[in-house]
Symmetry: C2
Subunit: 215 residues, 2 copies
């Protein structure tokens, strides 16, 4: 019985890793859709959010079920409650990818990204995808060192976010209000996406070390 | 022992209600600070977020402690896990108030809100404060009817949010990019604030009826 229980616990961890993969892919594709005004790609990210939500609910139900049936104590209880939080972070990060894709769809056939910001948005998308891939590795290997890397990646994201605002507020901005709104929102979504990945990593640190990192 | 346990469970619920009160007050004061470019009020909201975070962590620790010590089953387990989620929603809503206050502080001594949007922002602040007060009532009384009201209030918030964008995209917008950015972000913060209140109410519905409302 005890073994079946730990198998189920491992299965939940596997689902978290899978979910981080789905979410990392979603933000990468959403970024391409945004840059290239690719409606089909945007629609695929939007449709794919249902799968992310389904995995989220399934993981949540399994964790809940295990809590109720097995009454785990100490370490196992901590793993389960932490899993419930990580899955919520991953689902929210998926929503950020969804929001980016929706900007792409709304502005199609025009790209929402002015030429001079293309490389910044591209880089934000890359950092976001990478940070979520690392969050997945962090969950899988319980790797505190990767968690430290994520904090640095998040600093890089914050620097990119500031670069966006600098461009928006520059006197040479001639792309108008609509583009400014879209870029402001997209910037916020990327920043939040990275925050959720960092939050996942911090929860892994908590599991491994018992120390709570301020969120 | 069982009675002490239920007392502790009630104490956690009381803390959730208190926290919703703190957060409702924070968004009301942040809105005043934003509209009136009131630096002192903005600083008080910013400083007050520490108290909100302290109550959040304390509530979380108590719930966790109870989970570990008492190994609750079925209904009580559901209450505890749901409490952990509600407290996270409330803390995030508090962050939204913090962000609004930070806009006020950044733009001081100028108000970030152009004249023609003052009433819309005022109304968003009022709806936000009210919806969070209702979320507190909903937690306290386990009242599913109030939860239904919150959904309607959230529709009102969405309508106000659309009104902001209509103003931003109107050809007569002459307040420039910086104001457009601040209004875009503030709008997002109010909308998210209301979403967190709705999420709390839906969790109460889940506790009462066992039915999960899509989030």
């Amino acid at each position: 019985m005890r073994d079946a229980y730990h198998e189920e616990l491992d299965a939940i961890t596997d689902q978290l890793v899978d979910l981080s993969g789905l979410v990392a892919s979603a933000i990468g594709r959403a970024t391409s859709a945004l840059l290239d005004a690719d409606l089909q790609l945007a629609e695929s990210v939007i449709a794919g959010d249902e799968q992310i939500d389904a995995v989220y609910h399934d993981t949540e139900n399994r964790a809940f079920d295990l809590l109720a049936r097995q009454q785990p104590v100490a370490g196992d209880l901590r793993v389960l409650v932490t899993s419930l939080r990580m899955v919520a972070d991953l689902e929210r990060a998926g929503d950020m990818a969804l929001h980016v894709a929706k900007i792409a769809r709304r502005r199609h056939p025009v790209s929402a990204v002015p030429t001079q910001l293309r490389s910044t948005i591209l880089e934000m998308g890359q950092v976001a995808q990478l940070i979520m891939a690392k969050a997945g590795d962090c969950i899988q290997h319980r790797d505190v060192e990767i968690a430290a890397q994520l904090e640095r990646d998040d600093d890089a994201m914050d620097a990119l976010h500031r670069r966006l605002f600098t461009a928006l507020l520059d006197e040479t901005w001639t792309d108008g209000i609509e583009a400014a709104i879209d870029i402001t929102l997209a910037g916020r979504y990327y920043e939040r996406f990275a925050d959720h990945a960092v939050s996942v990593a911090r929860r892994v640190v908590y599991l491994v070390t018992g120390e709570r990192v301020a969120t």
